[in-house]
């Protein structure tokens, strides 16, 4: 799926592309490749879905989106694909996932991450998701994060040893 050159490119770009006029050239020089190789491989990885997007990664918290709610829903398993697509399209939902239930203590199988500047907005977002799910909603909960205990950073001064830290999976 990924060859060692692809992995090296992902690793070299994990702390962010350099803010210099020719960032791909700078990465290429580090790896002994050409800027053309870097761009071609990044494009190919994007086409294959290994890279979701290339761009600015905002820090929602810093932008005032202090309320990060993990909304969880108990919906029929056979409806997760159809409903998950709809929920994922809501513009305030950043991630939407189907995960297994863990009965009896965890009946929820659909996860939608929402971000807002206050709790009222989150409540309103939950109402919109509930409306969309209608009769398929057999129960829900929202888990607010009260503290971020660890979030692997990407600032260039703080290069992570783990090349997988660029993975886009919010809790």
């Amino acid at each position: 799926m990924l060859d060692s050159t692809d992995r090296k490119i992902i690793q070299a770009t994990q702390a962010g592309l350099p803010l210099t006029p020719e960032p791909y050239q700078a990465i290429a020089e580090q790896l002994g490749l050409t800027a053309g190789d870097i761009m071609k491989r990044l494009l190919a990885m994007q086409d294959k879905g290994i890279i979701r997007r290339i761009g600015v990664v905002p820090n929602h918290y810093k932008l005032g989106y202090r309320f990060n709610g993990m909304t969880v829903w108990d919906i029929p398993d056979e409806a997760t694909d159809e409903l998950g697509q709809k929920v994922g399209q809501l513009d305030f939902v950043s991630h939407c996932y189907h995960r297994p239930r863990h009965l009896p203590e965890w009946p929820y199988n659909l996860f939608a991450m929402v971000h807002a500047k206050n709790r009222e907005d989150v409540d309103n977002q939950i109402r919109q998701i509930a409306e969309l799910l209608g009769g398929f909603n057999h129960g829900c909960d929202v888990l607010y994060s009260t503290r971020i205990l660890k979030k692997t950073g990407f600032r260039s001064s703080e290069k992570s040893a783990c090349d997988q830290s660029v993975i886009d999976q919010a809790t």
Binding site: I10, Y24, R53, V56, P58, Q89, D91, C96, C162, I167
Partner: protein
Amino acid sequence: MMTPLHKQLLNDYQGNFPLSPRPYQDIATELGVSESDVIKALTELNETDVITRIGPVIPPNRIGVSTLAAIAVPEAHLHDIAQIVSACPEVNHNYEREHYFNLWFVIIASDADHLQQVITGIEQQTGYSVMSLPLMDDYFIDLSFRMDLHDC
């Protein structure tokens, strides 16, 4: 404190960052500013932590195997247990949440066996069982999260 250029860069370039020899120049041309304006504005956003970086974003499970895990910990032990979990190099997010399951973290491992080893290790070190909820489907829709920046 944020200029219109900062806001445009934040909302309009979460994807489609140009794959061209001079990407900042291409953005500058699109926005009618200079290349150095774009580089300066992005450097400011980076230095003030408003963006974490500019670069490729990888969906879950494309590289390695991951899961979302949770532990229910009595409040009095939360701090100690959270430290044990965070110290694990395979853990890349660890959040305290308001719920019976109050500690939530993402584990990323090289393969399924490694993932299981990490889970077992956390259970042994903390003395609590770990609820593992691996991703089954990712309903990703290709729209960037749109932010309201009017009061920034």
